[in-house]
């Protein structure tokens, strides 16, 4: 193995076992690409080029086959985000119930723009498309968990609580 390959991040043995079992469930190992990328993002925080190269090797795919999937799907991130990723749905149902005001409030109170992360690395604010939970508008996804009927007070309380915990999720 070359020095470069040695430097690549690696899945744990437990993960590799999980991936082997996953591959067995499909007619072709390529079908495991999206689930394996989800695992990689969970394990390494984001999908750096090194992580994508490692995923390609793990599934015996060309790097380009991985790249085109990573760049196509919005949930896959090529850059790190804050400890708390605050994704506000601003599509129709949420928009009609105050989502734009909520985004403005978050950006103002955290002093960042949409897509940015606070200097302390704690919070990233993003706008997302319809979360499929419109009865709970406006919806905020915080690190993959749905928080429904959110307003400025709820979010302020969440942020204060998160700051108090000092970055522990």
């Amino acid at each position: 193995m070359s020095a470069v390959e040695n430097a690549l991040p690696q899945f744990s043995e437990v993960r590799l076992e999980e991936i082997r079992a996953l591959i067995a469930r499909y007619p072709h190992p390529r079908s495991a690409l999206l689930p394996v990328l989800h695992m990689a993002q969970e394990d390494f925080g984001y999908l750096s080029m090194d992580v994508q190269t490692m995923v390609a090797k793990t599934l015996d795919l060309h790097l380009m086959a991985v790249r085109e999937v990573v760049t196509f799907y919005t949930m896959f991130r090529e850059k790190p985000c804050g400890t708390y990723l605050l994704e506000v749905c601003t599509n129709a149902g949420c928009m009609l119930n105050g989502a734009d005001d909520l985004v403005r409030h978050l950006c103002d109170s955290l002093d960042i723009k949409v897509g940015q992360t606070t200097d302390d690395g704690m919070f990233t604010v993003a706008e997302v498309e319809c979360a499929g939970a419109c009865a709970g508008a406006p919806v905020v996804q915080i690190n993959n968990a749905y928080h429904e009927k959110m307003d400025a007070a709820h979010m302020d309380a969440f942020i204060a609580d998160a700051r108090e915990k000092g970055g522990e999720k």
Partner: protein, 425 residues
């Protein structure tokens, strides 16, 4: 329990939805889950099941409304290739949130429906393609599936019969287009979700070029009741050609947004006023988007439209996925159109030029109109871009993108003009 008298039916997919601990297999079974499955596996054959589903009049609940039994009958037999069943749980159409409730509150209903559908179609490997954001729902399904395997309701030789079926939950990763069935197939093959040209239809060549049926969560969850009570029973609910119950996801300016399962043919007014507690402001809606953001808008003149595929088509729109987005008099319809234009531009997969370029163009023009920078000619540009991309692409995303823009221009030209930089006289 669902009554065997069709006149007394008030719920099908949501029959068990309020029972606590429904996620546990033991509780689900006490309340009727998998009760009729052994009968189906032992006494029914494939043709009989497909006939019952045809007789039921069930039409696909994901949006297109294609007759389910007919879709199943297109699957060729004895091709030497495996047949696959894919459940479409992508639920991405803005305004739609019904499948999420079935999956998180009654996962065993969907699993049972998939076993029955799989048995009818000779499927041994089935998958639930669930949108990536629904992590909680995927976890709930995985736990339910694990319990079903342990009880031999899934896996090899189900309940001691000769039928075997494996079921896997597959998470998407944030792409609206993957709700289109051929894009969904591309995605579950580990590729970007770009729709395929049809024909061949998935029933002939789908997942890895094998015969494949793609059905929506609500569609599959209706199958157990149809087989237990019979196709004729289902056909007696609702209206002719528009049979059964339907879940409507109501959002926007109503007092009690949520999912409501009602008989097909219930009027829009009844849904909004009796079930959803009426509008937040005023007494008459300004706009109703009746079937998800891709369906043409209807106005107050159609407030009494019966909720069926046929009646909404007559009113110039579509039943779609049953996602009713309600706007009262406070709604800024130009802003809503701009927001939806942004959505379609963001979600266009980019393979067809009219859609890739048209959705971006529309977003730029409607944005400047919203910001008071538009001119009279922009109305023509918006109209032409919409008309020229709809129907000229591989899939229907462009048609969906055109619907809100054309609706805005048709119903609210004065409101658009009032936002222009130089007002026309």
């Amino acid at each position: 329990m669902i009554p065997s008298d069709p006149k007394k039916v008030t719920k099908i997919c949501f029959d068990r939805i309020d029972i606590p601990d429904q996620l546990k297999l033991s509780v689900a079974r006490e309340n009727g889950a998998y009760k009729f499955l052994p009968t189906v596996l032992e006494k029914f054959d494939a043709d009989q099941i497909i006939d019952e589903v045809k007789t039921s009049g069930l039409r696909g609940r994901g949006g297109a409304g294609f007759p389910t039994g007919l879709k199943w009958s297109f699957v060729p037999r004895n091709t030497g290739k495996p047949t696959y069943l894919l459940c479409n749980a992508d639920e991405g159409e803005p305004g739609t949130f019904k499948d999420r409730d079935i999956m998180r509150f009654d996962p065993h209903l969907l699993i049972e429906g998939m076993i029955m559908a799989g048995f009818a179609l000779g499927v041994h490997d089935a998958y639930i393609y669930i949108r990536g954001e629904f992590l909680h729902e995927a976890n709930v399904l995985n736990e339910a599936i694990a319990e079903a395997y342990a009880a031999n309701l899934l896996g090899d030789k189900i309940l001691g019969t000769d039928y075997s079926m494996h079921l896997t939950v597959h998470r998407g990763a944030g792409a609206y287009i993957c709700g289109e069935e051929t894009a969904l197939i591309e995605s579950i093959e580990g590729k970007p979700g770009r729709p395929r040209f049809k024909p061949p239809f998935p029933a002939i060549e789908g997942f890895y070029r094998c015969p494949t049926v793609v059905n929506n969560v609500e569609t599959l969850s209706t199958i157990p009741a149809i087989l237990e009570h019979g196709g004729a029973w289902h056909a007696a609910i609702g209206k002719p050609n528009n049979t059964g119950m339907k879940i409507f996801s109501v959002s926007g300016h109503v007092n009690r947004p949520g999912n409501y399962e009602v008989p097909m043919g219930t009027t829009m007014r009844t849904l909004i006023e009796e079930h959803c507690g009426g509008l937040q402001h005023g007494t008459v809606p300004k706009v109703i988007i009746p079937g998800g953001s891709s369906t043409p808008w209807i106005l107050a003149e159609h407030y009494d439209v019966p909720l069926t595929y046929d009646d909404l088509a007559k009113a110039g729109s579509m039943l779609g996925s049953g996602a009713v987005i309600v706007m009262d008099e406070t709604a800024d319809v130009v802003a809503v159109t701009r927001r939806l234009a942004h959505f379609y531009a963001h979600e266009s997969c980019g393979q067809c030029t009219p859609c890739r370029e048209g959705t971006g163009w529309i977003e730029r023009v409607i944005t400047r109109v919203e910001n008071g920078q538009g001119c009279e000619n922009d109305l023509q540009v918006l109209n032409d871009a919409s008309v020229h991309m709809a129907g000229r692409t591989i899939c229907a995303l462009a048609d969906g993108a055109a619907a809100p823009v054309l609706s805005l221009l048709k119903h609210f030209p004065d409101e658009v003009r009032s936002r222009l930089k130089e007002k026309s006289s």
